[in-house]
């Protein structure tokens, strides 16, 4: 396979459950060495897409080629070269930490010696070497996630699939996972990840698609998407709930590229937030709090779907 051909290529990919369409005809391509993300809220169809890529869920329609192979016909051959971190951990609680890696490696038919060597290195990598002989159940959520990541690397995969790698972890545990994923990225591992955290997408992904209701709303680099769908700065204003609506009306007098009136805040998309804030004050409005910040993918999502990612 020539090196510049895409590692994953999806055309018109559809997944239906009965009459419900979870993935509604999506196209994307993934190149070697990139970190590619699916950003979208719960129910967007991210996991359904990941399961199709993982060859554990047959597409209802469309074309899905992975590593040059057909995802349905050559599922086992493809899975041999994938690493999978599913949304829900599927660690083997009847085995120890080390045995989890060992037995999983055997599922790939890897020789015992190879697995033992890799398992030791991987446990070091995810900082679980001192727990190697322990049972899995008492591990913290972050540790389980890291063990799942180590397990997914036992076959030295060409592509690593991570479905919401840090959902449900506390901030500190998230940062440890992020740090490990950064390292993998630097080592040149091709990553595909889903997330509903815009900071995760912004930090980890070279390129991403914004997914909503089973469709791709936009795709590009995090910077590119922000440049295309948002302004450099955002002014966030919070008013007394009693004044909220009146303030929103008055603010139409302030020039802004875009205005979003949320339940608790008003967002003004502008080139220069401080200058705009001065204009707001000049109108005689006195917000309870004001914040000038860079645009994020959250703003891109809001612009594309009219909803916030967390909703």
């Amino acid at each position: 396979m020539p090196d510049d051909s895409p590692l994953i290529r999806a055309r018109g990919l559809v997944k239906r459950f009965g009459t419900f369409t979870a993935v509604d005809g999506i196209d994307f391509e993934l190149r070697r060495g990139e970190a590619f993300g699916f950003l979208g809220p719960n129910g967007a169809g991210k996991s359904s897409t990941m399961r199709m890529i993982g060859c554990v869920s047959p597409p209802t329609a469309g074309e899905l080629t992975i590593l040059g192979l057909d995802s349905v016909r050559d599922g086992a051959a493809i899975r041999a070269r994938l690493g999978v971190v599913p949304q829900e951990d599927t660690l083997d609680v009847e085995l120890t930490v080390r045995e989890n890696l060992y037995v999983y490696g055997r599922y790939f038919g890897l020789p015992r010696a190879v697995i033992s060597e890799r398992a030791a290195a991987l446990l070091d990598f995810v900082q679980l070497a001192d727990r190697a002989g322990d049972q899995v159940e008492p591990l913290s959520g972050g540790m389980k996630r890291r063990l799942t990541i180590a397990r997914s690397l036992i076959n030295a995969p060409d592509i690593l699939l991570l479905d919401e790698p840090t959902t449900g972890l506390d901030p500190q545990a998230r940062h440890v996972v992020w740090d490990r994923l950064f390292r993998l990225k630097r080592q040149g591992v091709t990553l595909v990840l889903t997330t509903h955290y815009m900071d995760e997408a912004e930090q980890l992904c070279d390129r991403l698609v914004v997914m909503d209701g089973g469709r791709i709303a936009a795709q590009g680099t995090p910077r590119g998407l922000i440049g295309e769908y948002s302004t450099p700065e955002v002014l966030e204003l919070r008013f007394d709930p009693a004044d909220h609506d009146a303030a929103a009306d008055k603010l139409t007098a302030v020039p802004a590229t875009r205005r979003e009136v949320l339940a608790d805040r008003i967002l003004l998309y502008v080139p220069d937030g401080d200058a705009t804030l001065a204009q707001v004050r000049a109108l005689g409005l006195d917000p309870l709090t004001s914040l000038v910040r860079r645009s994020t993918l959250e703003d891109v999502f809001l612009r594309l779907t009219g909803r916030q990612l967390g909703e």
């Binding site: 554990v56 869920s57 047959p58 086992a76 051959a77 041999a80 829900e88 037995v103 599922y107 790939f108």
Partner: protein, 280 residues
């Protein structure tokens, strides 16, 4: 022309082979040994379960075989008269093969399927649903072999192995285990909750009690005899008793065929259902 002839002749010869190859490609099978390796690792730590599996059928043998045997004396079977212990021991062996296989392939498989998510993890690797089915049934057979060997050693020591055909008792026990493990696993894939396991008891207990296990089939009226003959444990008991007592002859092959077909059908259904349930 020759191509057409070949095209017609070929399927006859090749079809079963290609169909089998196709089925293996879709469902797998060879990877089952890795699942067996996993179970062996887990059971190294829980050897007590294995010990109780060995002990239970022996308790039955001592209690019913020897205890009731003292009261009953001997039984007339197929023209010959044999001591009751000799009569009942092969049936207890067949029954324990059934019970062990059913336990492994129902409770344990259900837990791994619905709660431990073991097969979700397994199917993300190159392993396939057929590997899962074959691995589970293979594991049930390995445990079954262990129990049957222990039981046969005791039968040998007690002089209960009457015929040289007794050498085939172990394979017969494995065949029984295969048939029930495969059917049990297939049934398990249809279960929705632990409550559904009442059906397992509802089926296995009458089989245990009424399959000419404790008394000859001739006790029943003709109609009931036919009914009993259709059930799987009767087939296993008749096979085992025929081998151990040296009675039955080539007709025993019918029992072998019955159990083989039952196992093959169960294996196929189990593999397909695992796909249906998990590869959605």
């Amino acid at each position: 022309m020759s191509e057409r002839v070949a095209g017609r002749a070929l399927p006859l010869r090749v079809l079963p082979v290609t169909a089998l190859a196709g089925a293996t490609r879709a469902l797998g099978g060879g990877g089952g040994r890795h699942l067996i390796e996993r179970h062996a690792r887990v059971y190294r730590r829980t050897w007590l379960v294995l010990a109780s599996g060995v002990a239970e059928p022996l308790f039955y043998l001592f209690s019913i075989g020897i205890g009731i045997g003292k009261l009953v004396g001997s039984v007339k079977v197929g023209g010959a008269t044999v001591p009751y212990t000799t009569f009942v021991a092969p049936a207890l062996l067949a029954t324990s093969s059934m019970n062990g296989a059913i336990f492994d392939s129902t409770f344990n498989v259900f837990f791994r399927l619905k709660y431990a998510k073991l097969y979700d993890a397994v199917l993300a690797t190159p392993m396939r649903s057929g590997d899962v089915a074959l691995g589970e049934i293979g594991w049930a057979l390995i445990r079954g072999a262990l129990y049957a060997c222990a039981f046969l050693v005791v039968m040998l020591a007690m002089g209960l192995l009457r015929s040289p055909w007794s050498a085939a008792a172990l394979p017969a026990a494995l065949l029984t285990g295969f048939a029930f493990a495969a059917a049990g696993m297939a049934a398990t894939t249809f279960m929705r909750s632990w409550q559904d396991f009442e059906y397992v008891t509802l089926v296995s207990v009458p089989l245990f009690l009424f399959s000419a296990t404790f008394y000859p089939l001739s006790v029943y009226p003709r109609a009931v005899q036919i009914l009993v003959q259709c059930t799987p444990l009767y087939q296993a008991v008749a096979l085992m008793r025929g081998l151990v007592l040296g009675a039955g002859g080539p007709a025993l092959l019918w029992h072998v065929a019955y159990l083989l077909i039952m196992g093959a059908a169960g294996l196929y259904v189990a593999g397909r259902r695992v796909s249906r349930l998990l590869l959605t």
